[in-house]
Assembly symmetry: C2
């Protein structure tokens, strides 16, 4: 595992950004290293390349596996475990979205559902509940929509993204194309 200047810059940057993406510095670095490395890489090599303890490496790898971003790769004849990305870039990005949705939206959705079951005790609470209801509906739309996009599959999703402003024009025409169904207002 040779850390060329290019790879070093990228790895360091992914470390910096790590915390903004939902994991910590070393987890970000480990991910970058595994993705950018052509060959499977062992935990010890990672620890050496990044100058971090073996323990930290182990925990980082565990976390990345819980995010389903990296997976183990058994090399025949080798005792130790090697790691590789859990899929192509597209898949990884999807996984990050999905995991983050689970961590950032789902818990709130569930709390909001609970809070909306209670009868408002007074005018103040009624007003607050209205707001919470709006938030709830919005988060639910986002969740449904993101699931929708997921099972559209990469190719179609790509088509949709590349469509650009065409999507607006298409929406204007949609009632002609998909009569009756799903019409809003």
């Amino acid at each position: 595992m040779k850390m060329t200047p290019l790879i070093t810059s990228a790895v360091m940057h992914f470390g910096e950004m790590g915390s903004r993406w939902g994991f910590n510095r070393t987890v970000g670095q480990i991910l970058a290293l595994i993705v950018l490395n052509e060959e499977p890489i062992s935990a010890q090599e990672i620890a050496d390349a990044l100058n971090i303890s073996r323990g930290n490496t182990s925990m980082g790898l565990k976390e990345l596996q819980s995010w389903r971003l990296v997976k183990q790769h058994l090399v025949p004849g080798e005792r130790k475990e090697f790691f590789i990305p859990a899929g192509d870039i597209w898949t990884l990005a999807n996984r990050v979205f999905e995991e983050r949705r689970k961590r950032e939206i789902d818990p709130t959705l569930s709390l909001l559902r609970d809070l909306l079951l209670d009868e408002p005790a007074n005018g103040t609470e009624a007003g607050a509940q209205n707001k919470l209801n709006e938030i709830h509906d919005l988060l639910e739309s986002i969740t449904a929509w993101s699931e929708e996009l997921q099972n559209l599959g990469p190719e179609k999703l790509n088509t949709l993204m590349k469509l650009g402003s065409g999507v607006g024009r298409m929406l204007d025409l949609k009632d002609k194309i998909l009569p009756g169904k799903n019409s809003v207002n």
Copy 2:
């Protein structure tokens, strides 16, 4: 400013989630309080309701203003400043997306652009650059797409989201509807 049990639960939860959404506990709590409160609320009232120092409140409000999530509201005849949400729930969600994109994607995009300008020094670097290029393209698509969705406006965006699986069928037909333009492949 009366903290009913309902409002308290919501505010505490938004505090917990704050860090996952890109700001810290008290910033999350302050935001929730301002959104759920019908009337404009002063910094002092916020500090009292949340049991946090006046200084912390001031910094939190500054941060929320930098995210363009809350704004000042001048009450005639009152010396102190009051705060209200910077828009409806929809607007706020949009702002969060936008700010997060700025913090989470833009810096990476800019680094990747730089790294891709360099000539690869060897095979390893060439391979890494390929990956980086894939990541770059993906992030650029996401950025372009999210801008696209933004200036679609709330109504159309809502239509699109509510369209559900219809979007898949629509894509199958798109070449008939928008001949020539934006065709992919």
